[in-house]
């Protein structure tokens, strides 16, 4: 049984791979119904699946594929013209085949899917009853085109072609006769047009026949021995070879309604040219690649750390000989890590063609359904991007393309009236741009009308009149991403339910991507999706606010600007700034992340302009640290889903830095009350003193006597006094933050850390940047005073001093108000 499982798995993988190419080929086939290569390829897929499924006892699937094969074989021999109706039936059967395969994958059985109807239609079409109405597909038959197809211009046939035609007809007759003779039609359908085959193909055909026989025998045996598998062999429906169609083969390629074509008609999987190039590939479980990627992530963190340590060492041991060597090792490790990372990333890359492949079929179906003529042009399907992104990008693209078909491209009559070509074009492009992949969907339809969008949004109550007035065209275009917005006057089965584009936005945001819409009324719409290549290791901009750091995915950063505080305006209690010709709304990162804001007196601020999907916002930060490669780590089960935080990363110093979730941040920004330009609320709170003991002063002195003298001098004020014996202890007390100090009295000469060092250390703390530091010392030289000022002392009291003098200096500096 295990062996069976294994075979089944292989079969499924192969079958799904085959089918992926199939859709593409089929649609192309409609354009070039006489392309024998293409037909052969499609035929082989049906055939392979049939052979394998009969071997594996999937009778329903075998039954279906058998009839498909039959039909395709006729087409291959030229007994049947593939027109839109025939194609509908074929596509329907392919869909059914897919459904069956999915079912087999999920339940290891193909029972329960109804194929009889489809088989009937297949047979009917094979019988030449072109009028058969396939289910579910609106038949707005393209009569005119069909006529063109059927009409074959014999006069255009060369002599050789006529010869071939005659020969073919003869062969057909024979085949037909054989069909009548033989009850088991296996033989017949295996009767390919040998004259059309290359040697390699004949070889392959023979091998295939053998395999087929074996497979069938095996299947029969399996059936006998395995009574537990209920479904009996599919009843072999009589094969009807189509009555010789009037004229075929050399018909000039008609121009059907939907002509999806690739601009680079690249013959993929050119198997027919023989198996000369053996693919050098190996199947690897995605889990292993994921694991590898995780390990690389750890390595990158290690590398970052190493670089940081190297820098520190360099600073400390400048000029030492071993530094050179260390430098070399660090740079080699760093180089190799980067290369390794790229190499592993490449193993996870898939061509975006995997996603694009399903669109020609979709466009074809849509254009039939909507009675429009649409052509799809695909470029850059070889562009590669990470597997996880390929999986995510499919849905948004489906929505956008459906939208372009439904709302963008007009119906032929309107197009003609507007002086455009009857056939609308949708271009699907993919290309690399730096660390991003850009996917562009361009249609030449009616375009988006900003005024119409605005009034629509107003009607639906999505925006206010005021907002509408102040909206730029781009902002108006962005309205289509609002939930509940739908521009189709009529809700169709294709779109207009107002869910689609909203989903697009969410999905693209999930990928840290951006959307850029451009549109011109009457000329068409272009949508540009910009998506980072990978998700696990990203480039980030590190920013600082007070004493905290945050990492912002660089993919979402459009630019950074340094502005003066005066450049920030307040409009309706929201902060905005003018950025070139745009008005950018601003939000302070501290407001978003509840950062305790102490003092911030700098005249300037940095604004990081963030762009995501179609929206923009300016994020005010205190400092810009720089760009770094970071590895995204989850915050774990306990802390997941924290608003505004996408994850965490470990920095070179071993600390954890949180990664900003730009999408969430933009949402949060809407509800955050702006405090930009105001002094921190914390500072205000501190300013409120209700009693003398709310004032707090620290005395730093190594001599107990001195500390006592100072304490005694200040006691009359009734303020809180904290003592420290040296600089280190003083710093620790500050760090603990049990008290907020209004001032400090510092002795200069102390063990472990002297007063100057302490003062300059304290100035590094944002919170205490403006705290008055008073030196109390016996050093009275001018140089000492100078040093004191340099390190940030505001007063210089020389011992000995009178208690009153000391008290007054302190009172003045901590702005002590009497009267409590």
């Amino acid at each position: 049984m295990d062996e069976f499982e294994e075979i089944l798995q292989d079969f499924l993988i192969e079958a799904f791979e085959l089918i992926e190419q199939l859709d593409q080929d089929l649609v192309e086939l409609e354009t070039r119904p006489d392309d024998l290569d293409l037909l052969n390829r499609i035929f082989r897929v049906a055939h392979t699946i049939k052979g394998a499924s009969s071997f594996l006892n999937f009778d329903v699937l075998t039954h279906l594929t058998h009839h498909m094969e039959n039909l395709l074989n006729m087409a291959r021999h030229g007994d049947l013209v593939i027109d839109a109706n025939v194609m509908d039936v074929i596509l329907e059967s392919i869909d059914l085949m897919k459904a069956l395969l999915v079912r087999i994958r999920d339940s290891s059985s193909d029972a329960g899917v109804e194929v009889a109807g489809c088989v009937e239609r297949l047979d009917a079409v094979a019988n030449g009853e072109a009028s058969v109405v396939p289910v579910a597909v609106v038949v707005e038959p393209i009569v005119a085109i069909k006529a063109v197809e059927d009409e074959v211009d014999y006069s255009q046939l060369s002599e050789a072609e006529v010869e071939a035609e005659i020969e073919r007809l003869l062969a057909e007759k024979q085949t037909e006769a054989m069909a009548k003779r033989s009850s088991a039609q296996v033989v017949i359908e295996e009767e390919p047009d040998y004259s059309n085959m290359s040697d390699a193909e004949v070889e392959a055909e023979i091998e295939r026949l053998l395999l087929e026989k074996q497979a069938q025998d095996a299947a029969k045996r399996a059936n006998k021995s395995q009574n537990s598998t209920p479904p009996p062999p599919a009843p072999l429906a009589p094969v009807v070879v189509a009555p010789v169609p009037p004229k075929v083969e050399a018909a000039p390629p008609p121009k059907p309604a939907a002509t999806p074509r690739r601009s680079e008609p690249k013959e993929e999987g050119g198997e027919s040219k023989g198996g000369a190039t053996v693919e050098q590939t190996i199947r690897v479980d995605v889990k292993r690649l994921d694991h590898l990627m995780n390990l690389i992530g750890e390595l990158v963190l290690g590398k970052n750390r190493l670089i940081k340590i190297n820098d520190d060492v360099e600073e400390r041991y400048e000029g030492e000989a071993f530094l050179e060597e260390l430098n070399q090792v660090v740079s080699i490790v760093s180089l190799v890590t980067t290369d390794l990372q790229i190499a592993v990333m490449k193993t996870r890359m898939l061509p975006i063609g995997k996603v694009f492949n399903k669109f020609p079929r979709m466009i074809r179906d849509l254009s039939r359904e909507l009675n429009k003529k649409i052509e799809l042009e695909i470029t850059g399907e070889d562009t590669e991007l990470d597997k996880s992104i390929v999986e995510e990008i499919g849905d948004p693209l489906v929505h956008i393309i459906r939208n372009s078909c439904d709302h963008g491209v007009e119906i032929p009559q309107i197009r003609l009236d507007a002086g455009k070509e009857e056939v609308g074009t949708i271009q699907l492009k993919a290309y690399h741009e730096g660390n991003h992949i850009v996917i562009q969907i361009i249609d030449d339809g009616k375009g988006l009308d900003p005024e119409m969008l605005k009034s629509k949004a107003l009607d639906k109550g999505l925006i206010t009149e005021k907002e509408a007035d102040g909206m730029s065209d781009k902002e108006a275009f962005a309205l289509i991403f609002r939930p509940g917005f739908s521009t189709a006057a009529q809700v169709t089965s294709v779109s207009g339910r107002g869910v689609g584009m909203d989903v697009v936005k969410t999905n693209i945001e999930k990928l840290n991507g951006m959307i850029d819409i451009d549109s011109e009324v009457g000329r068409g719409t272009s949508m540009k999706l910009k998506i980072p290549l990978t998700l696990a290791i990203i480039q980030a901009l590190l920013v600082g606010v007070q004493e905290e750091y945050y990492a912002i995915p660089l993919a979402s950063v459009l630019e950074t600007v340094r502005i003066a505080k005066d450049d920030i305006y307040t409009v309706e209690s929201r902060s905005v700034m003018r950025l070139r010709d745009e008005v950018l709304s601003l939000v302070h990162i501290g407001d978003i992340f509840e950062v305790e804001r102490v003092f911030d007196n700098s005249e300037h601020a940095y604004v990081v302009v963030l762009g995501l999907a179609e929206s923009k916002i300016g994020l005010i930060v205190d400092t810009l640290i720089g760009q770094e490669e970071i590895v995204i780590k989850s915050l774990g089960e306990y802390l997941k889903g924290i608003e505004g935080i996408a994850g965490a990363t470990i920095r070179g110093d071993g600390g954890v830095t949180l990664i900003v979730d730009v999408a969430a941040l933009m949402l949060m920004a809407k509800s955050v009350k702006s405090t930009v330009g105001q002094t921190g609320s914390e500072a205000k709170k501190i300013g409120v003193k209700n009693s003398a003991s709310d004032y707090c002063v620290m005395i730093v002195d190594d001599s107990k006597t001195d500390r006592t003298i100072i304490r005694k001098s200040l006691e009359p004020l009734g303020i809180t006094i904290v003592e420290a014996v040296d600089g280190i202890e003083a710093l620790n007390i500050l760090k603990q933050g049990d008290h907020f100090f209004d001032g400090m009295l510092i002795d200069i000469e102390m063990p472990r850390m002297d007063g100057y060092t302490l003062a300059s250390e304290i100035k590094k703390y944002n919170k205490y940047k403006n705290m008055p530091l008073i030196a109390v010392t016996s050093r009275s030289g001018k140089a000492d005073r100078m040093r004191g000022v340099e390190s940030g002392m505001v007063e210089y009291i020389t011992k000995p001093y009178s208690p009153d003098y000391l008290m007054n200096v302190v009172k003045r500096n901590i702005k002590f108000t009497e009267g409590f």
Binding site: K633, L635, L639, G644, I645, A648, I650, G655, V656, T657
Partner: protein, 164 residues
């Protein structure tokens, strides 16, 4: 002779069985102090105990979540048990420790005031949690009675459960 041998074997077997029962009955706990009370958790739910290291604040979380810290490459949440139990915050001292607890895939670090000792306690000495605490909501698994004191045993899975 063989009878005697049989007896000896029987006795040995009995002794073995007895031992096993005894082993089964003993639970091993690690005791620690938070505030004025001694708590304990099963030793097997402890991944490691480390001295305090720096952590990063995480916004939009309750006050008892101090943030996250880096434990050899893993980002782990840090929870202050004093705050969690509604006690007043205290500055970390020389004796403060982070206990990293795990329950399945859930891991978190907990700040405690100080460790006491590893406790071996017969299972029969563990009583149920006091009735006054709501049955389903309580973090208390039971109360261990020892000669000179009582130790509250905490439910690790409850501690590691997100409740905001």
């Amino acid at each position: 002779m063989s009878e005697k041998l049989q007896q000896i074997i029987n006795r040995q077997n009995n002794a073995l069985v007895g031992n096993e029962q005894k082993v089964e009955e003993v639970i091993q706990l690690v005791g620690f102090i938070v505030g004025d009370e001694e708590f304990s958790i099963p030793i097997l739910s402890i991944q490691e105990i480390i001295k305090p290291i720096s952590w990063t604040r995480v916004p939009q979380t309750p006050a008892y979540i101090l943030g996250v810290f880096n434990l050899r490459g893993s980002v782990i949440p840090l929870i202050d048990l004093r705050a969690r139990f509604g006690l007043e915050l205290q500055k970390h001292t020389e004796e403060t420790r982070f206990i990293v607890m795990k329950n399945g895939d859930d891991v978190a670090g907990f700040v405690i005031d100080r460790l006491t000792e590893a406790i071996r306690m017969p299972k029969r000495d563990v009583g149920p949690a006091p009735d006054t605490v709501a049955e389903s909501d309580t973090m208390i698994d039971g109360v261990g009675k020892q000669a000179d004191r009582i130790v509250t045993i905490l439910k690790v899975h409850k501690l590691l459960e997100r409740n905001f």
